[in-house]
């Protein structure tokens, strides 16, 4: 009987455990998903250290750490805990974490790509404007600020952009160009094709042009080519002012395809991730790098030295003009938004950091010299001392000029059309698996199907 009693007890425990699972499942309310209201603020004890959790994907850790160190030095009672993600995994991780109630205090927001997927978990800037200087709005570039605001479906401002970026640009390894006998940055696709031929001949082991094969990058390159034909072509396509199978679009697709069919850009490069392409360039294995302006850091010799990039001199230019009669173009938009989630219990301290990053000379001077963004702080100019060669100086000037020219909005119209249809089929165009005409017709059909509303 003693045994039976023991067995009974044992079973009772098992059943109780199971019942608990059910009970917890039935009425658990300790968590919840999404749509949180603002968390209560932690009491600010004097002299107590507050730790802020900061998640972002950009700028690189090596750059941001300098900013954090400077901020912590100026604010000894605030510690910042940085976590950095890759561009694409961040788009997954941040919404999941915010929806899951993760206590984050500062988050980087990809202004164009992410504002709407996370805004429900963010505090509008108006909620914490009291923690900013009263004249803060006049300190930030108004057009960048309005871009950050109008991208949101409810037309509220959720983040303060660190600056703006543009794409696509062409960076060059000056030593490799010199070895191949190239004396100037190519400005037309014809020149680029000639340069590629020279490089192939002079240095068979070098990849002439490297770039990311990730699908999101393909539309950036394509729209650069397209906007060379008409600076607002990309805007007009997404706003429905012009059809995806219009003659201009076919012309753009033809020019884009020709870049590959002529061997100027190699389809072999399309298997690379962005980091792989950057690595190939940074280690001197590629002569040209096709990247966004966020990679302008490579123009800074101090940055190259600090990050072990063994390329002596880097130049840059706009992407060579491909279509006849076209002009240089780049799509640009505000980027590097800094926001405060609803879950944060340290709003005042978080706002202080955002102010430091975007509104103070001291803060800007920690990251802006790495050239990752055109800073949004009005009146701030990057010290040209970081650009030590004429190639870098004129390259950076060209990039800035092209961005300032105000092309179409980069990623201004978020819709799954871009990832589901355009990116994938552009890869087919690049590989010559579909003709420009057929591609244009396919895009227009998908666009008109109503499957992919603007978000």
């Amino acid at each position: 009987m003693d045994n039976e009693a023991r067995a009974r007890r044992w079973l009772a425990v098992a059943v109780a455990a199971a019942a608990m699972t059910v009970a917890v499942a039935a009425c658990g309310n300790s968590g919840g998903v999404g749509g949180s209201s603002g968390a209560a603020q932690a009491a600010a004890g004097s002299g107590q250290t507050v730790t802020l959790n900061y998640w972002t994907w950009f700028p690189a850790q090596s750059t941001l750490q300098k900013s954090i160190d400077a901020f912590e030095k100026a604010n000894p009672t605030i510690k910042i805990n940085l976590r950095e993600f890759t561009n694409t995994s961040y788009q997954t991780e941040l919404p999941l974490a915010l929806g899951g109630g993760q206590a984050l205090d500062i988050v980087g927001v990809q202004v164009a790509a992410m504002t709407n997927s996370v805004r429900k978990d963010l505090r509008p800037v108006s909620d914490w404007a009291a923690d900013l200087p009263s004249n803060w709005q006049s300190q930030i570039n108004p057009s960048m600020l309005s871009q950050a605001q109008k991208i949101s479906q409810d037309n509220k401002l959720y983040d303060i952009p660190m600056g703006s970026i543009g794409s696509a640009f062409l960076y060059s390894n000056q030593a490799l160009l010199a070895k191949a006998g190239i004396t100037a940055e190519p400005t037309t696709s014809g020149q680029l094709a000639a340069d590629v031929a020279k490089i192939k001949q002079a240095e068979p082991g070098v990849t002439p042009v490297t770039f990311s094969g990730e699908s999101w990058w393909q539309d950036e390159v394509f729209f650069t080519v397209a906007d060379q034909i008409d600076t607002k072509l990309s805007d007009e396509l997404y706003t429905g002012k012009i059809a995806w199978n219009s003659p201009k679009m076919v012309q753009a697709l033809t020019a884009y395809q020709k870049l590959f069919s002529s061997g100027t850009l190699s389809t072999g490069t399309l298997s690379l991730k962005e980091a792989d392409a950057d690595e190939a360039f940074n280690s001197g294995k590629a002569a040209f790098l096709l990247e966004g302006s966020w990679d302008s850091s490579v123009l800074s010799s101090a940055y190259r030295k600090a990050n072990g990039i063994a390329v002596a001199d880097v130049g840059a230019s706009y992407f060579p003009v491909s279509a006849p009669g076209g002009s240089p173009a780049a799509r640009t938009y505000a980027e590097g938004g800094l926001a405060i989630p609803k879950n944060s219990r340290h709003v005042a301290q978080a706002a202080k950091f955002i102010q430091f990053m975007t509104m103070t000379q001291q803060g800007e001077s920690t990251w802006a010299p790495d050239l990752v963004l055109v800073p949004s702080l009005t009146g701030y100019t990057v010290p040209t001392s970081v650009l030590t060669s004429t190639a870098a100086q004129s390259g950076y000037a060209t990039i800035q000029r092209t961005i300032d020219a105000g092309g179409s909005g980069r990623g201004e119209y978020p819709t799954n059309f871009t990832s589901d249809v355009l990116d994938n089929s552009l890869l087919q165009v690049a590989r010559g698996q579909i003709s420009p005409q057929a591609e244009a017709a396919k895009l227009q059909a998908a666009w008109a199907s109503g499957r992919y509303p603007l978000q």
Partner: protein
């Protein structure tokens, strides 16, 4: 978890089909007493099954109901502000060519792995069982890719198949087969080949089945066959292969059942490239949940999930029926 029914051994279902327990005896007229006895057994049975029922209730039943709901809404990851969508999400999924391509690829990849398992896997299983030296070393070498985290192996494989500087093209150049080097994730045909190679790497489990079953079948007939002058090729083909018929079925069904759980396999290697050419059901749903432009479309992803679930459950159902007939 998504790979674990690679390992399900459906042959085991054979037992399930066998009428078990004393009451399932063929006697047609079940007495009232037996029926009463069975009813009385309900209470202890329920107690034993409560933990299972609780988990199933939450993570399957409730989950399916939840999916049924979200699949008919337009909603994002915050799950707030949902609007009714009716059956539109289903309509959109069912008319998306990429969805059908993904399902097709799922079945194609399963078929390829079955063929590889039934040929190479069979041969390796027999070879490993024939008293070779360093058996344990060989065994682990063949099993390793199947048993390390798939996210890891697929990532490593993805690095290998990079067109420029990937180890595969490099190795082909090194052994003088440079002409075979490919744009593995660019050319649709080459991408299939790359996935087929990856699937070949993952036949560790069929090898396990074969080696295990070879210890249970009587292979002494080989002796007589050899005396009759059979070549080793004939012994493989005409004696051993038919002898392991049961194992072949196990292999086929386990691959088929496991194939709908594949995800990491593709996500970390080709990520569906080129242009969705190697996309499978798992990566399709995941891509809808976490698109690189625009925000998560939970309703659409749920509708796709429901359809994939129905297919997966149907495959399990067929599996049970097949096993029953065998029983």
């Amino acid at each position: 978890m998504s790979s674990n029914t690679h390992m399900v051994r459906p042959g085991a279902l054979l037992e399930a089909a066998r009428p078990a327990g004393p009451s399932a005896e063929p006697s047609r007229r079940r007495s009232a007493a037996v029926r009463r006895l069975r009813r009385r057994a309900l209470i202890p049975a329920l107690i034993f099954l409560t933990p299972m029922l609780a988990l199933y209730g939450v993570y399957y039943v409730y989950a399916f109901v939840f999916l049924g709901q979200t699949s008919r809404e337009n909603v994002d990851l915050s799950f707030s502000g949902a609007t009714a969508a009716g059956w539109r999400n289903f309509q959109l999924v069912l008319t998306d060519p990429l969805f059908w391509k993904s399902i097709e690829n799922n079945l194609l990849f399963a078929a390829v792995q079955i063929v590889v398992a039934l040929t190479l896997g069979f041969f390796l299983g027999v070879s490993l069982s024939s008293g070779v030296r360093f058996r344990r070393f060989f065994y682990i070498a063949f099993l390793l890719p199947s048993l390390v985290p798939l996210s890891l192996f697929a990532t490593v494989f993805g690095q290998m198949i990079q067109t420029n500087g990937g180890a595969l093209n490099q190795a082909l150049h090194d052994v003088g087969l440079g002409a075979l080097a490919q744009d593995w994730t660019g050319n649709p045909a080459a991408a299939y080949v790359a996935v087929f190679i990856l699937l070949t790497y993952l036949i560790g489990l069929p090898i396990m089945y074969y080696t295990a079953d070879l210890t249970t079948v009587n292979t002494s007939v080989l002796e007589a066959a050899q005396i009759d002058g059979a070549s080793s090729g004939q012994m493989y083909r005409l004696i051993l292969f038919p002898m392991l018929r049961g194992t072949h079925k196990t292999v086929i069904l386990s691959v088929l059942l496991g194939s709908f759980r594949w995800f990491e396999l593709i996500y970390f290697s080709t990520n569906g490239q080129p242009s969705g050419g190697t996309s499978i059901a798992g990566t399709y749903i995941y891509g809808q949940m976490f698109p690189s432009t625009g925000s998560a479309q939970i309703g659409y992803a749920s509708a796709a999930s429901v359809i994939v679930l129905l297919i997966a459950i149907a495959v399990s159902g067929v599996n049970i029926l097949v096993q029953r007939r065998r029983g």
